[in-house]
C-alpha cells in the first residue's frame, strides 16, 4: 500500500489561516511562500526508510484550542506530565496553546516563555530574525509543509548572561483526532545565558486511536558562550506518524545537550543535528528508542563542524522487539578549517526478537586533516554470557534480561535533567518493554 502525499495546503489557504489568527504580515508572507514550496518540493530522501509509504495523509485541520484556567481542566495523564513545573510551563492541545505560566522571577530577568504564535505577535523583533533560519523552509516538502502549517509551538528567549536554573517544561498533546498537531519550537539563548527545556509529546483520548501525523521542528540558537539543555520524550500512539526535525546552531564556545526519548508506538522519523559553527562550541546528543510491533523508525543524529576545537558526542541506543525496524544513522561531518575538532559517535542496537531489525550506519565525512574522530556501532542480541553470570547469582532469566536491557539504556536515561522526568521516562520504558 502506498499512500501519496497530496499537499494538504496551498498559498491561499495558508494566507487565510494566518490572517484569521491575526499573525503579523511577515509571518503570513513566510507561510504563503512555504505553502507554495510545499507543492513543488519532494519529500526528503531518508536512508533505507521509505517514508513515502507511511500514512502521511492525516495532517488534520487547524482547530482553535480553548485555553484553560486550571491544569485540572486537562486530561489526567496530561496533568501528571505537567506536575512539578515550578519555573515555567506551557501546554499545547492539538492545534494551539491552552496554558502558559512563567515565574515572576524569570519574567523580571527578561526571560520569555510563551507559545510561538503569541511570541510572533508580541515579540516579532526576537522571533523574526531567527524563525526558519536554523531549519529553512525550502529544504524539502516536509520543512515547507511545516512552515506553512505549524501551530501553537514554543518560544524561549533567555537574555544575555541570564541563567535559568530550573528547567522550563512543556507538554504538547493531542486528544482530537482531526486537529492538526504541528508545534514549532524556537529557543534563543543569548550570549552567556543558560537554560534547560524539557518537553513531553503525547497523544491521548480520541487521538490515541486515529491515524494522524505529528510534525514538529525544533530550532535552537545558542549564541556565544550560551548553554542549552534540551530533553524531549515522544510517546504517541501506534496510529500516529511522528516527523521530528531538531537542529541547533552554535556560536563560539556555546554548548547544546540533547536528550531524546523516541518512545512512540508508531512510525518515527527523528533527526537531531548540531551545527557547530563557533570555535570551541560543543554538543552532546543522547537518543534512546524502543521499537515494538511492526513499527518503523529512522533515527538520525548529526554534527557538522566548522568551528576550530569544536567537539561533538553522539550516542544512540535502541532496543527492538517484535517485528520493529530501526535504521540508525550517525553523521559526523568536519569541514575544512575546523582544525582540532573532535567528533565521536556510537550507535548500538539490541534486538530482542529474531524478526526485529536494526541497522547502525556510522558515517564520518572529514575534509580537514588536523582533527580526531571516532565511531563505534553494534547490533546484537542480549549476551548469553551476561545472562549466565546474573543467573549464577540466583537472578531469574527474565530479571537478568531485564537488568541487561535497562542497563543498555541507562547511559541515556541517567542523563535526563529532571528527576521527575527521568522517573516518568523509566515508567515509559517499562511500559514499552513489558507490554
Amino acid at each position: 500500500m502506498s499512500i501519496q502525499l497530496s499537499t494538504p495546503v496551498n498559498r491561499q489557504a495558508a494566507e487565510a489561516l494566518s490572517r484569521s489568527k491575526g499573525e503579523p504580515e511577515w509571518l503570513t508572507a513566510l507561510r504563503a511562500e512555504a505553502a507554495e514550496l510545499a507543492e513543488t518540493l519532494a519529500l526528503p530522501k531518508v536512508e533505507k526508510t521509505r517514508i513515502d509509504r507511511w500514512n502521511l495523509s492525516a495532517f488534520g485541520q487547524y482547530k482553535a484550542a480553548q485555553p484553560v484556567a486550571q491544569l485540572t481542566e486537562l486530561p489526567e495523564d496530561v496533568q501528571t506530565l505537567a506536575a512539578n513545573a515550578e519555573a515555567g510551563l506551557l501546554v499545547q492541545r492539538g492545534s494551539g496553546s491552552v496554558y502558559a505560566k512563567l515565574s515572576d522571577e524569570l519574567k523580571a530577568k527578561g526571560v520569555i516563555f510563551t507559545d510561538l504564535e503569541t511570541a510572533a505577535r508580541e515579540h516579532s523583533n526576537l522571533v523574526q530574525p531567527y524563525l526558519h533560519t536554523v531549519v529553512p523552509n525550502n529544504e524539502d516538502k516536509l520543512t515547507a509543509l511545516h512552515g506553512a502549517l505549524w501551530n501553537g509551538g514554543v518560544f524561549v528567549y533567555v537574555p544575555k548572561n541570564v541563567e535559568v536554573e530550573i528547567p522550563l517544561q512543556a507538554v504538547l498533546f493531542n486528544d482530537d483526532a482531526d486537529a492538526a498537531f504541528a508545534p514549532h519550537i524556537l529557543i534563543v539563548a543569548d550570549t552567556h545565558s543558560r537554560v534547560t527545556y524539557v518537553d513531553n509529546v503525547v497523544t491521548t483520548g480520541a487521538a490515541a486511536s486515529a491515524a494522524a501525523v505529528h510534525h514538529s521542528i525544533v530550532e535552537i540558537v545558542a549564541k556565544a558562550g550560551a548553554q542549552v539543555n534540551f530533553a524531549s520524550i515522544h510517546n504517541m500512539s501506534g496510529e500516529v506518524v511522528d516527523l521530528s526535525i531538531r537542529r541547533a546552531t552554535l556560536d563560539n564556545d556555546a554548548r547544546v545537550e540533547w536528550v531524546i526519548g523516541d518512545l512512540n508506538d508508531g512510525n518515527t522519523l527523528s533527526d537531531t543535528k548540531s551545527l557547530l559553527k563557533g570555535n570551541g562550541s560543543t554538543s552532546d546528543s543522547k537518543v534512546i528508542s524502543i521499537g515494538s510491533n511492526a513499527q518503523k523508525m529512522s533515527l538520525t543524529t548529526q554534527a557538522v563542524h566548522w568551528g576550530r576545537s569544536s567537539d561533538s558526542q553522539m550516542i544512540t541506543r535502541a532496543v527492538m522487539r517484535d517485528e520493529a525496524t530501526a535504521i540508525i544513522n550517525g553523521i559526523t561531518k568536519i569541514e575544512k578549517g575546523a582544525t582540532k575538532a573532535n567528533g565521536e559517535q556510537t550507535e548500538k542496537v539490541l534486538m530482542l526478537s529474531p524478526k526485529s531489525r536494526g541497522d547502525a550506519n556510522p558515517i564520518l565525512l572529514i575534509d580537514e586533516d588536523d582533527v580526531t574522530a571516532g565511531h563505534a556501532a553494534s547490533v546484537g542480541q542480549v549476551n548469553p554470557e551476561q545472562v549466565y553470570y546474573l543467573m549464577s547469582r540466583g537472578i531469574s532469566k527474565k530479571d537478568a534480561e531485564r537488568l541487561i536491557i535497562y542497563g543498555f539504556l541507562a547511559p541515556v536515561v541517567s542523563e535526563v535533567p529532571i528527576d521527575a522526568v527521568r522517573e516518568q521516562l523509566q515508567r515509559l520504558l517499562e511500559r514499552k518493554l513489558e507490554a
Binding site: 553470570y389 547469582r393 537472578i395 543498555f408 541507562a410
Partner: protein, 259 residues
Amino acid sequence: MSTQFVINDLKASVEGKEILKGINLEIKGGEIHAIMGPNGTGKSTLASALMGHPKYEVTGGTALLDGEDILEMGVDERALAGMFLAMQYPSEITGVTNSDFLRSAINARRGEGNEISLIKFIRQMEGKMKDLEMNPEFAHRYLNEGFSGGEKKRNEILQMMLLDPKLVILDEIDSGLDIDALRIVSNGVNAMRSEDRGFLVITHYQRLLNYIKPDFVHVMMQGRIVKSGGPELAERLENEGYDWVKEELGIVDETVGQA
C-alpha cells in the same frame, strides 16, 4: 544436617568435544578442597558445568547438593539451592550498577514479598566492602566494567559474602591479586568457613593455600581427578611441578586434547 556435595561420574562436553571424563568428588560442610592441575586440563570446565554454563553440556553423572541433583536445575535454581561460583573471568555488564545487581541477587534469594530494605542492604553491602577494603565508589560503578583483574576478584568475593552459599567454587580467585589483596580475599574466605559450607578452590599456586588451608588437594589431568591427597600434595607440586605425577601415572599429554 551439615552440607553434603557429591559429584558422581560427571561427564561434560563443550562444542561436541568431551572435556570432563568422569569426575568423582565428595565435599562435606566445613571442608576445603583444592583442585590443582596444568592449564587446559578441565578445571574451569568442571566449575562451569556445575554452575550450568549454557556452553557446557553435561553428558553423564550427577552432582547432589544435600541429596538434590543440581544438574537437573536451571542456573538460577542452582544458585538458589546454594551453589556459588567465583568465576575466573567475570562478565562486565554496562548500565547495571554493582549495588543494583547485588540487591537483585539478594532479593532473588529472599523471594517476593520478603525483599531486603534499602537501608539494611546498604549497611550489609558497605560492611562487607569495608572488610574487603573496597572503595565505596565500587557500589555505584557498573558491574565489573573497567574493574582491574584484582578488583573483579574482590567483587566476586563480595558477592559470595552477601549471598551466603552452601557450596562455594573459587576459580583462580588468586590470579591478578597483589599480595595485600590475596591476604584480604583469603581472610574473607576464611571468615566464611563454617560447618554448613563447603569450598572447592581451583588454583595454580601453593601461595593461596598458605592462606586458605585445604583439607584435601586433588590433581586434575585429562579431564579427570588423577591424584588426591592432603595439603602436603600441594607443597610437593609447588616444589617439583607435575612431571612426577605424569610419570607415576604414565601420562604423556595432560591436557584433554587427544586423550
